[in-house]
Amino acid sequence: MRLERRESVPLALVATAPLAAVATALVLAAGLIAAAGVNPLMAYGEMLRGALGSRLAITEMLTRATPLILTGLAAAIAFRAKLWNIGAEGQFFIGALVTAWIGHSLGLPGPLGTAVLMVCAMAGGALLLAGPAYLCLRFGVDEVVTTLLLNFIVILFVGLMIEGPLRDPLAFGWPQSVPVDGAYRLPDLVARTRLHIGLLIAVAAAGMVWLILARTVFGLETRAAGFNPRAAAFAGISLPRTLMGVALLSGALAGLAGGIEVMGVTGGVTTTMSPGFGYAGIVVAMLAALHPAGVVAAAVFVATVFVGADAMARATGVPSFIADVIVALSLLCMLVALLFTTYRVRR
């Protein structure tokens, strides 16, 4: 038996790959749920009800999907250029910290201040990834390791700031940063829920990223550099410039996710504010086959699993870690599914 490259990749196959992957992951996870002595169908039913069963559930799920769209885009554009940015978690926290820090005492009118804070959050994330990208281009230091290690450094730094200079005196000793000024909080999208207009910003960002990748010179250069760096260089595309551009864009998207989460949901920064948004972004990007439109759909799926799993855990007693298992299994299954879109099995 061997794998043979397909002569053309049918679009229908690409579209069904994530569905097949998710289905397989759900079947595999069903075994684990059954091991907990719970009927998997019932558990999945609880999960769906928890994430989509009511207006409130849906808004909660979409609130959770918002940062995932942005970290998913961050991973998607970086992976397109084969820049392995695993540091979206750190970039998320830097974006959040910068937003709370500057947004606490920024003397600008509301909407303008919000816009400035978003730019600051993006700049923070972008600069954080620029470092590893520079080290990779200049010294050949593997960016996987540097971005991963930076995640730990950033979280410690956030801890240092919120226990020190940015400590919220009103939080009764709870380690939390000062809150962003109420004037810069993102307006609600649906009244009396946590869902805020950050969702629209994230979806707009997906549109922008699609436009950049599909229609601009930079996007075409990014794809060429990712597919075949030697041929891209031969054609006169500057690899360092392209990769640095990708790094800045990717870091900015992850930083924006952090900024929006602070302005839209949490107000201040805590070290526990991200249930792994950065890492889940990688799963989102892969499930989307690195396509910006797919990122939105994949983020909704991952958010559904996470939000639904909490409800399921309450209702059935199955540990909510099952959500992480389902998401990770989806990623692994998606990898295999993608393989079969480009290869077929012979004999």
């Binding site: 043979e4 053309s8 075409l220 075949n228 891209a232 260089a233 031969f234 006169g236 595309i237």
Partner: protein, 509 residues
């Protein structure tokens, strides 16, 4: 006819790759002590056949018998144990490991608690002496020359007690004298009882070195001849089938100097890849650079494509300095580049034909405004190239990786020539192409010459260099010979040049 039982028999070998039939019902036998040449063009199925014999591939049908035993398909280990040794065209060596490591690999049981290195070393030295293939067992393979690496490959087979040796295009990386020495060595080995198959597409070496010739064309065995009873002409006809008429260079007046290189050097660490190379190409002239690859062709190609900057010396294009322009600057200055390896450098296989067609000129106003790609213009341009350069089986939307080698090359050539360049670097422009595509590429290069372009042709194919070039120079060990006019370039003289033997070394003009 056959003097003894064959040591090796292939019968009815058939192999498909997707829709392509690489081998179609091929049968072949090898007699003891015989040297059999497997002759055919690129893509005729020679390498596939030998890979099946060695067990790298499993055949769809047919079987392989060695000394009367049928080999299990797809198992190199079985082939090695039956006494088959293979010297691959792309050497299968690990550069970071020693010669001895490379040779010992696989010769001991993996469960053994300790390698018997000392005994292995002694045996290797003994074999090397017996067959007169001297090597230093402790040398790191990366430090060896190409010829020495080939020696290691042959020793690997001999160390495993091969009695049948298969060599895939063994002279591709050797200069003529080295190649002649190799065939002498092989002849000596047959006297010691080995039987040999070598793959080649070079008629002269097949005629000189083999006892018998098997000719492959389009995946089929078209003829078998005793070498003594055939001629180069007959073999050429058998190999190519219907001869495609290649275009002929017409004499015409040349123009002013377009590209001038003076004492160009490229040094990397302690290695000198290009050593004070000087040449001039005039408008309407083709300068052929011959020589075995690995002698500085790579460095010269990189400098002229803008990928590498010369360490010293100067390069000027149309009177302006051009050594430090980079790829994009060179293109803007009127240079066109056809890369040596179209898959690695020429095209982004996963992108469409239109994207590849404009990749070099993406930032020019014709194809982009304010950072946005002008898709309409780009796709129209691609369609024009497809039409004008007769690229078959493609629309502007096709993934370029799906095109055949010839059609991909026509598109890459078209993308370069569409700008009416003043200078063209054509680096191995016909490598791996079939006859029809070769003729098309030659015609395009000659048309560009007539239009006044200065062309540098780097080629390993002497026949091609002589047919196209106005003047020829040889590049050996990073140094360039003096030019020879095409009319005076006979095979003997070129052979000497390529071996690094030329007069008046001191006053390189």
């Amino acid at each position: 006819m056959k003097p003894a039982d064959p040591v090796l028999e292939l019968s009815g070998i058939t192999k498909h790759f997707g829709a392509m039939t690489a081998n179609d019902d091929i049968s072949l036998a090898l007699a003891p002590g015989e040297i059999l040449a497997l002759l055919g063009e690129n893509g005729a199925g020679k390498t596939t056949l030998m890979n099946i014999l060695f067990g790298h591939y499993a055949a769809d049908a047919g079987d392989v018998r060695v000394f009367g035993q049928t080999l299990p398909p797809g198992r190199p280990r079985a082939a090695i144990e039956a006494g088959v040794g293979m010297v691959h065209q792309h050497f299968t060596l690990a550069g970071n490991l020693s010669v001895l490591d490379n040779i010992m690999l696989g010769s001991e049981a993996l469960t053994k608690a300790r390698s018997a290195r000392r005994a292995a070393r002694a045996r290797l030295i003994e074999i090397a002496e017996t067959f007169q293939l001297p090597v230093n067992p402790e040398a790191r393979v990366a430090t060896l020359s190409v010829g020495e690496r080939q020696r290691v490959e042959i020793l690997k087979a001999l160390y495993r007690q091969a009695r049948i040796l298969i060599l895939d295009e063994p002279t591709a990386v050797l200069a003529r004298p080295e190649a002649e020495r190799l065939f002498e060595t092989l002849r000596g080995m047959t006297a010691g009882g080995l039987s040999i198959i070598f793959i080649s597409h070079k008629l002269h070496e097949v005629m000189a070195a083999s006892d018998r010739v098997a000719v492959l064309r389009g995946g089929r065995m078209v003829a078998e001849r005793a070498t003594a009873e055939t001629s180069a002409e007959e073999l050429a006809e058998l190999m190519v089938g219907r001869r495609v008429e290649r275009p002929v260079r017409q004499d015409h007046a040349i123009g002013a100097p377009t590209l001038i290189a003076e004492r160009l050097s490229v040094r990397e660490g302690s290695e000198t890849r290009l050593d004070e190379v000087s040449f001039t190409i005039h408008a309407g002239e083709i300068l052929g650079i011959v020589g075995v690859s690995g002698n500085g062709q790579g460095a010269l190609g990189e400098v002229l494509s803008g990928l590498t900057q010369p360490s010293s010396g100067s390069l000027s294009l149309n009177g302006a300095p051009a050594g430090h322009l980079g790829p994009r600057g060179l293109i803007q200055a009127g240079a066109a580049r056809v890369p040596e390896d179209r898959h690695a450098e020429g095209a982004v296989a996963d992108m469409s034909v239109w994207e590849n067609a404009i990749l070099e000129r993406l930032r020019q106003p014709e194809f982009s405004t304010r950072g946005f790609v002008r898709q309409g213009a780009a796709r129209a341009h691609a369609r024009k190239l497809i039409e004008r350069f007769d690229v078959r089986g493609a629309s502007d939307q096709t993934r370029i990786g799906l095109l055949s080698g010839g059609n991909m090359q026509k598109l890459i050539l078209g993308r370069s020539l569409a700008t009416q360049p003043r200078f063209i670097l054509a680096n191995q422009p016909t490598r791996g192409l079939d006859e029809g595509a070769i003729a098309a590429v030659h015609a395009e290069l000659l048309a560009a010459r007539s239009a006044g372009a200065a062309i540098l042709l780097i080629s390993e194919e002497l026949e091609e260099a002589v047919a196209l070039s106005d003047r020829i120079q040889a590049l050996v060990k990073g140094r360039l010979s003096r030019p020879v006019a095409a009319g005076q370039a006979d095979a003997r003289r070129l052979g000497l040049m390529m071996a690094g033997i030329w007069e008046d070394e001191s006053d390189a003009a």
